[in-house]
């Protein structure tokens, strides 16, 4: 027990494996080809071969027994490649589900991140268009529903395979009270935060590479201080987001009675840190894609350039849970207590 802010040797291997995998198997052209649905079955089948869908499940049920710290490393590589597969949703759902076909990845699971409405409908479930199984809240219960995925959904800003799903129709099992869903949502926030850090990192790298090459007035545009200073903020936000995400993973993995002592800046409560990480990483991804797109000049908004894909996903992945103000207010309740009345 002492401060160690480096990846473990295992995590270094995981990062190398998945970065290599996505670089080879999921270059931006793959994400582009998967639009508008935002899902590539062949790519999913390949991550199934890697054993990724069951990585975080316990060894008892045939999973890899990976820690959340390990999954954060994987999630960042998913974001960096904007791979059109719902690996994050699947990994989050499996914190409660242990079915063999889910652990193997033969079937896909999604998380209904917002509770069902009074008619038992889950609106705009991320990965809802393609998932065989959806876990979420219906009334005061956590339920899991197996039903046939629509394999289509509304065209959307983030090219996500989202769709409305029923919390009642299909093979429905009640897992317990609504509170047990917290673990799923915490994990979903954590891994989405990590993916947003990955998006931000990739967007920064695209922008930096572009301004080194692109010349105006006879010099690289990256030699202008205005451009440099806009880019210089990005590694700070990315590193900060990565540290906060890893701290949340560490807390969720190892801390049981975490502190929420914001007045001493002493926060070790996993769920609190996961929400903080999501909000911060979302801002980092939005800022990185804004600036990188802008420094591409006109090519930044040309569809043939990749930066616009990162720009749209940075918004899609950060808004699908809820608007950031609502998320911030739920964090405020956790930090400062709820408002009376």
């Amino acid at each position: 027990m002492s401060v160690d802010l480096g990846l473990s040797p295992d995590q270094e291997s995981i990062a190398e494996l998945f970065n290599g995998f996505f670089t080879n198997e999921a270059p931006p052209a793959v994400a582009r080809a998967a639009e508008p649905l935002g899902f590539d079955r062949d790519l999913w089948n390949k991550v199934v071969e890697l054993g990724a869908p069951g990585m975080g499940s316990s060894v008892d049920v045939g999973g890899g027994g990976a820690s959340l710290g390990d999954l954060v490393v994987v999630a960042e590589t998913v974001g960096r490649s904007i791979a059109p597969i719902p690996l994050i949703d699947h990994l989050a759902a499996l914190s409660l589900l242990t079915d063999e076909d889910l652990v193997s990845g033969e079937s896909l699971a999604a998380v209904a991140v917002r509770p069902a409405d009074i008619n038992g409908e889950w609106a705009l479930v991320p990965a809802g268009a393609v998932a065989d199984v959806v876990v979420g809240i219906d009334g005061d219960e956590t339920v899991v529903v197996r039903s046939t995925p629509p394999m289509e959904g509304p065209r959307n800003h983030g090219s996500m395979p989202m769709a409305d799903r029923s919390a009642r129709d299909g093979n429905r099992i009640v897992l317990g009270s609504s509170t047990i869903f917290d673990a799923v949502l915490d994990r979903w926030k954590l891994l989405t935060a990590a993916a947003l850090v990955g998006i931000a990192d990739a967007a920064m790298n695209l922008g930096v590479a572009y301004v080194k090459e692109r010349e105006q007035f006879g010099v690289p545009v990256g030699s202008f201080q205005a451009v440099q200073h806009g880019l210089a903020d990005l590694p700070v936000a990315i590193d900060g987001g990565r540290l906060l995400t890893h701290k949340a993973a560490w807390a969720l993995d190892t801390i049981t009675d975490g502190l929420i002592d914001w007045a001493k800046n002493d926060i070790t409560d996993g769920p609190t840190l996961a929400t903080m990480a999501l909000l911060f990483a979302a801002d980092a991804a939005v800022m990185a894609t804004d600036r990188s797109l802008h420094y591409h000049g006109g090519y930044g908004f040309a569809e043939e350039y990749d930066i616009q894909m990162y720009y749209r996903r940075a918004r899609g992945w950060s808004l699908i849970l809820d608007d950031p103000t609502t998320v911030s207010l739920s964090l405020a309740d956790r930090l400062f207590g709820t408002v009376e009345g």
Binding site: M1, S2, V3, D4, L5, G6, L7, G69, V208, V211, K212, V219, P220, G222, S223, F224, Q225, Q228, H229, L231, A232, D233, P235, V236, A237, D239, G240, G241, L243, L244, H246, K247, A249, W250, A251, T254, W262, A263, K264, N265, I267, T268, L273, M276, L279, F280, T325, S328, L329, L331, A332, L335, F336, V339, E340
Partner: protein, 380 residues
């Protein structure tokens, strides 16, 4: 990653917290704000008496950068005056690394006992960010050096025992090469100190040097080696000696006031507050990273630049929204009836703009990040 402090560091932190509880009293913080001297002698002496300054000083005691980070982070979060301590410890570390045996014996004990402070004479009226162009001259005259010139922002010169002074000793060498650092007693004849009052409360100084005579015993780190001595000082600072969590006491004071006055329920305020809590957490994690890199034998120079850019802007954001939220009450100063957060809101609104300037401006830090981290071409 592991974010837990070792049991030994936890014990150290708790000791620091208990010392803060005893020695950083209302009287001490009041004095800091009324005199503009950001230093608490009784706190320094207690830390010295307990051996904590020796323990924390790089190269001397344990010199554990994690402990250094913890100590200054605790002081900063408590709103304690720690500027004097930070400079003194940095200089003790440099004397220990680059000084002669005679200098070590003469200077270090006075610092690590908590008795002596040090002030730094680097910048001049015409040379701030471009500090390597300074003009203050030191000329050899027999066995002595004769120093003439002036310095700006010589903070704590009015109370310090020692002065570390950057001078030009060779006009023919390139600007970074012809510099020599001296360390001399502030009571050396020929030194004049004039206060400079600042927006952020802290009183700094302009200092003049008229035929100040010292021997070779005052040269620190070798003749014409002053730039290296200065970068060694900065390397010991490592970005872990405070200056990255100044918003924490502000948020605490603001929250107390806002709750007591029934204005903490507004969703806008709660959202801003939650966002600032996130910022403060990220700032401390970035600082902890620098400490961890240093503890692992690395040199977190670039990471220090990154942390300062983020942490200072986070503090400025917090200061801006707390003052705006407080409205007219945010204009009232310490000890005025009805002042928001007992005056801290008003104080931080004046103090926060200072921090993106001193100790390396945000622009210089962004240049560093752009050139050294992103590999972009030099822009000047």
């Amino acid at each position: 990653m592991d974010f837990s402090l070792s049991p030994e560091v936890v014990e150290f932190r708790d000791e620091i917290r208990s010392i803060i509880g005893e020695f950083v009293t209302q009287e001490v913080t009041d004095r800091m704000h009324s005199t503009g001297v950001f230093d608490a002698p009784e706190l320094n002496l207690e830390l010295g008496r307990r051996g904590i300054l020796e323990r924390a000083c790089p190269g001397l005691g344990k010199g554990d950068p994690i402990e250094m980070y913890v100590m200054f982070n605790e002081l900063e979060k408590a709103g304690a005056p720690y500027d004097g301590l930070a400079v003194a410890l940095m200089i003790a570390a440099v004397v220990n690394k680059l000084g002669t045996e005679e200098q070590k014996e003469r200077i270090i004990p006075s610092i690590i006992s908590g008795e002596a402070l040090v002030c730094m004479g680097y910048s001049e009226a015409d040379f701030g960010s471009d500090v390597a162009s300074i003009k203050t001259r030191a000329v050899k005259d027999g066995d002595e050096w004769v120093i003439n010139g002036s310095k700006m922002w010589t903070t704590l010169a009015q109370v310090a025992e020692w002065l570390i002074l950057l001078t030009r000793t060779d006009l023919d060498l390139p600007k970074h090469k012809g510099l020599t650092m001296f360390i001399l007693p502030m009571n050396t004849p020929g030194i004049t100190v004039e206060p400079v009052h600042t927006l952020g409360t802290e009183i700094t100084n302009a200092t003049w040097y008229d035929d100040v005579r010292v021997g070779d015993e005052a040269v620190l780190g070798g003749e014409n080696n002053g730039w290296r001595t200065m970068t060694t000082v900065l390397a010991f600072e490592r970005g872990v000696m405070g200056g990255t969590n100044a918003g924490v006491p502000l948020l605490r004071h603001f929250h107390e006031w806002a709750v007591a006055n029934g204005v903490f329920d507004a969703p806008t305020t709660r959202e801003r507050m939650a966002r600032s809590v996130i910022d403060m957490q990220v700032a401390t994690l970035l600082t902890m990273r620098s400490a961890w890199i240093a503890a692992s034998g690395g040199m977190p120079g670039l990471e220090g630049s990154m942390t300062k850019v983020f942490a200072v802007e986070a503090y400025q954001r917090a200061s801006r929204w707390t003052q705006a939220t407080a409205g007219p009450a945010g204009l009232l100063q310490f000890h005025e009836e009805g002042a928001a957060a007992e005056g801290f809101v008003e104080y931080d609104a004046r103090h926060s703009p200072v921090m993106s300037i001193y100790g390396g401006t945000t622009e210089i830090n962004r240049n560093n990040i752009a050139e050294r981290h992103l590999g972009l071409p030099k822009s000047r």
